[in-house]
C-alpha cells in the first residue's frame, strides 16, 4: 500500500492550479456580469450557470469531445503538435476549472452587486481609471464575498470526481486524486485506505464550511 500522501498533494495541486485560473477569469467575468448590461448578457449568464447544473459525467463527456485525442480542438492539437491533454495532470485541472469557475463567478457577481456604485463613481471623479477603480475600490470592498466564493470553489475543485474520472483517467502517480483514489480503494476492497482518505477529505470539507460560514457572518456584520 503506497501512502495517501500522493493523492492528497495531487488534489491540492490540482485545486490550487484551478484556482489560479479561476480567480482572474472569475473576477473579471463576475464584475462584468454585475456592472454591465449588454446585449446577450442573459446568454452569458446561462452559460455560466450551466456547468453547475450539468451532471459531471456530461461535463466529462463534452471535455472528451472537445479535448480528446480525436476531439474538436484536441484532434488537431495532437495531429499537428503531438500534444494531448487527456489523462494528464492538466486534464484534472481543466475538469476542476470547468466545474468550479461558475461557482466563483456567481459569488463574485453577488459580491460586486453589494458594492455601492457611488464609491466607484467617486473614485472615477477623483481621477482613477476603470482598472484602478476595480482593483483599488471594487475588489477591496467586496473582498469577503470574493474570499468566500474562492473557498467554496476550492472545495468544489478538491471534490471533483465524475468529469475528472472520465477526462483525466485514474492513473496512479499521475491523476489519481483523493476522490478517485477513494473510489479505486473501495473497488479493490481496500477499506482501510478508503476510510483514511475519506477521513482526510471530511476534515478538509468541515474546515471549508467553517471558514465559509465565518466569512459570511463577517460580511453580514460589515453591511450593518
Amino acid at each position: 500500500m503506497n501512502g495517501a500522501a500522493f493523492p492528497l498533494f495531487l488534489s491540492l495541486r490540482v485545486a490550487l492550479a484551478a484556482l489560479a485560473v479561476i480567480l482572474p477569469v472569475g473576477l473579471v467575468l463576475g464584475y462584468l456580469q454585475a456592472r454591465h448590461d449588454y446585449r446577450g448578457r442573459w446568454l452569458v449568464d446561462v452559460l455560466i450557470v450551466l456547468p453547475i447544473v450539468l451532471p459531471p459525467s456530461v461535463t466529462g463527456y463534452y471535455l472528451i469531445l472537445v479535448l480528446g485525442r480525436r476531439g474538436l480542438i484536441g484532434g488537431p492539437l495532437y495531429e499537428l503538435m503531438g500534444v494531448s491533454v487527456i489523462f494528464t495532470f492538466w486534464a484534472a485541472v481543466i475538469a476542476a476549472v470547468v466545474v468550479s469557475l461558475p461557482l466563483f463567478i456567481k459569488f463574485a457577481q453577488a459580491a460586486f452587486n453589494g458594492v455601492d456604485p457611488e464609491l466607484e463613481a467617486v473614485a472615477r471623479t477623483l481621477g482613477a481609471g476603470p482598472v484602478a477603480t476595480f482593483l483599488r475600490v471594487s475588489v477591496p470592498v467586496a473582498w469577503r464575498g470574493l474570499v468566500a466564493g474562492a473557498v467554496l470553489c476550492f472545495a468544489r475543485a478538491l471534490g471533483e470526481f465524475g468529469a475528472t474520472l472520465m477526462f483525466a483517467g485514474n492513473i496512479p502517480g499521475k491523476t489519481n486524486t483523493m476522490t478517485l483514489e477513494i473510489w479505486s480503494a473501495y473497488q479493490a476492497g481496500d477499506d482501510a485506505r478508503a476510510a483514511a482518505l475519506v477521513l482526510i477529505l471530511t476534515a478538509v470539507s468541515v474546515a471549508v464550511v467553517l471558514a465559509f460560514s465565518r466569512l459570511e457572518r463577517l460580511q453580514r456584520k460589515d453591511r450593518r
Binding site: 480525436r70 487527456i86 489523462f87 479505486s184 473497488q187 479493490a188
Partner: protein, 250 residues
C-alpha cells in the same frame, strides 16, 4: 402547506412504484465485463425454458462485483474473470466451495491502432506514450496484463505509460476512441470489435486466464432457479455459445 405535503406524498408514491419488481420471478447475475455478450446470449437461451423468469445481468469488473456481493448485492450467480475473486467469497463464507466451477478460458492479447507497434516489446518505444490496461487492483484483465508485462520484464518501462481502465471494456473503448496507442485486452474483446491482435500471450510468461462461475449463498441455501442457471452455464449448449464468441471451453 397541505398542498406541498400532498405533492411530497405523490413523489414518494412514484418513487416506490418503481421498486415493485421483487414480485416477479427474478434472478440477478453478476458477470465480468468481458462476458457481456455471451452472458446476454446465455440468459436469453436459458429464458427459453424458463419463460416467466427475468434475468437481470449486472456487468462490471470482477473486483467491483465481488465487493458488491460482499456488501449484500442481490446477485445469486457470479461469473468472475479470475478465480481469485471467487476464492475470496469462499473465504468469507458467501460461496460454498462445492458451488464453483471453471466456466471458460481466454487469452490475453495486445491490440493497437498504430501500425508501428508489432510486438509487446514495441511498447517500450518512446513513440508509444499511452498503453491502456485494466486497473490491476480490481480488474482481472489488468492483473493478468500486469503479470504478463512483469514476467516479460517490460513493466518497469511501461508503467509510466499506463492508463488504467475501470474494466476491460473501458480499455477497449479508450483504444477505439484513439485516446491510447495500445491496450491489453482479452482475445474475445478484440474479436468483438474486429481488432486484429498484434501479439498474443503465450508460453510460460502468459498468465492463465480462467473464468469461474459461482453460486452466491451465504447464510441461505442458493435458490433452485439459481442452481439451474449455474448448471446451464456448464451445459453443452452454453459451451457452444462460448466457443462461437472465441472463448476456450473449460
Amino acid at each position: 402547506m397541505s398542498r406541498g405535503l400532498a405533492f411530497l406524498l405523490v413523489l414518494v408514491g412514484a418513487a416506490c412504484s418503481f421498486n415493485e419488481s421483487s414480485e416477479r420471478d427474478e434472478l440477478v447475475v453478476s458477470a465480468a465485463a468481458s462476458l457481456r455478450e455471451v452472458m446476454t446470449a446465455a440468459a436469453l437461451s436459458f429464458k427459453e425454458t424458463h419463460p416467466s423468469l427475468s434475468v437481470q445481468l449486472n456487468f462490471a469488473s470482477s473486483g467491483a462485483l465481488r465487493q458488491q456481493i460482499e456488501l449484500g448485492s442481490p446477485a445469486e450467480v457470479f461469473v468472475s474473470a479470475s478465480t481469485e475473486h471467487v476464492d475470496r467469497l469462499v473465504e468469507s463464507g458467501l460461496v460454498a466451495s462445492a458451488d464453483r466451477r471453471i466456466f471458460a478460458r481466454n487469452e490475453l492479447v495486445l491490440v493497437t491502432t498504430k501500425e508501428d507497434i508489432r510486438s509487446l516489446e514495441d511498447l517500450e518505444d518512446d513513440a508509444v506514450t499511452r498503453v491502456a490496461i485494466g486497473d490491476p487492483r480490481s480488474v482481472p484483465a489488468g492483473k493478468y496484463s500486469l503479470q504478463w508485462l512483469e514476467a516479460e520484464g517490460l513493466w518497469e518501462r511501461i508503467q509510466e505509460k499506463a492508463v488504467l481502465g475501470g474494466d476491460v471494456r473501458q480499455v477497449l473503448s479508450y483504444l477505439e476512441r484513439g485516446e491510447v496507442d495500445a491496450g491489453i485486452v482479452y482475445a474475445t474483446d478484440a474479436k468483438l470489435v474486429g481488432l486484429e491482435p498484434v501479439w498474443i500471450a503465450s508460453g510460460p510468461n502468459a498468465p492463465a486466464v480462467e473464468y469461474e462461475a459461482a453460486l452466491v449463498g451465504g447464510s441461505r441455501e442458493p435458490r433452485a432457479i439459481a442452481r439451474q442457471f449455474f448448471d446451464y452455464l456448464g451445459s453443452d449448449e452454453a459451451i457452444r455459445e462460448l466457443e462461437a464468441a472465441g472463448f476456450i471451453a473449460p
